[in-house]
Assembly symmetry: C2
Homo-oligomer: 211 residues x 2
């Protein structure tokens, strides 16, 4: 089972590593981190560098595509090389997935036309630019296309996918192996649950950053 | 706020990236991934390579130490260089933390003597070899020493720590930014919740792997 995770400048690490930690445990899994060029790819804060093993075109037909998000997605929305890779991989994939704003790249590649989809809550409405119907669900499955919400949601998405591929017993084993029994110390993980002022503050900050 | 995450051959990526994704958002945070030598460090399955920025000794006095776990911890339990680094960093740290079997390294360095502590459920009892009292809690705080359970628990631990360092409002903002509103598709994330046969099967498999 070939799994490709395309990285790019200013991706969000957990978007990629959550699904990696689950999907790499599938029977005969081979996860490959790929990028425009093989070599180092740096997260948005400059504090973490992951090595991409191959160039995008070296892995044209993975069975699973998983596109992470991050601040860097905006710069790629008209990057024909990345979009062509996604489009091509999606043609033959068994599953095409995204985490966080990775869904904007699926959208820009034309994959989400007419589909329900999700993204990071800050960018959810942008999905409609690509003909998708934004939904607030944490994981949205539409045939072989699965989009997940912000950052940490990739773990939930990947466990669901592992269950579909290898069965419930297997997915439960993976959940136990990664001891995924979440006990967040706060209940502030969605816009419905977080205090209104926190949601508003973040929206203001992000709007200021995006200029 | 200097945060050091020591990596080593065959670490588990999510153990490190969960806390990184939270702690890197602290005010003035600087997360540094360090290792015996600067350069590539590979996870147990060989599918992911993270670049260590510095050697262990280049970061002797971080304010936060976060030691991830993985299959590779066993080989380091008598690695005097890693243990001396942990011991030295712990002397001046504000917080000394671990995820998963990272606690075995804290234990081998002498940090857990007489303390309650946790680890991955498969290695929980091994903590008593180091004078610690194994507890099944997901996050165990003992003064400045915080140990977390397996793999994914580092996210919970880091959010708790972020709250202590920067306040509840801040930690809640981080939780919302990473959209940590967990909705696992199964309820199999601990030995109490997983089906007994899955727990038994994993124990058997791991015992066989460890010869």
């Amino acid at each position: 089972m070939d799994i490709a995770i395309p990285l790019y400048d200013r991706f969000t690490a957990l978007d990629a590593i959550g699904p990696y930690e689950v999907l790499s445990r599938l029977p005969d899994a081979r996860v490959r981190f790929i990028a425009h060029e093989p070599g180092p790819v740096v997260t948005v804060n400059g504090m973490l560098t992951i090595l991409a093993e191959d160039a995008l075109e070296d892995v044209p037909n993975p069975e699973i595509v998983c596109v992470p998000g991050g601040w860097g997605t905006r710069a790629l929305l008209d990057d024909e090389r990345m979009l062509a890779w996604i489009r091509g991989a999606h043609e033959t994939s068994e599953w095409t997935t995204s985490v966080c704003t990775g869904s904007l790249l699926l959208g820009a590649a034309g994959v989400l036309e007419g589909l329900d989809a999700t993204s990071h809550w800050l960018e959810l409405e942008a999905l409609s630019d690509f003909g998708a119907r934004p939904t607030g669900a944490r994981v949205v499955e539409q045939g072989k296309v699965i989009t997940a919400a912000g950052v940490s949601s990739g773990i939930d998405m990947a466990l669901m996918l592992a269950g579909q591929i290898a069965g419930d017993e297997f997915a439960k084993s993976v959940q136990l192996l990664i001891e995924y029994d979440p006990q967040p110390p706060y209940d502030s993980g969605s816009t419905e649950k977080a205090p209104d002022e926190i949601v508003a503050n973040i929206r203001t900050l992000v709007a200021a950053m995006q200029g």
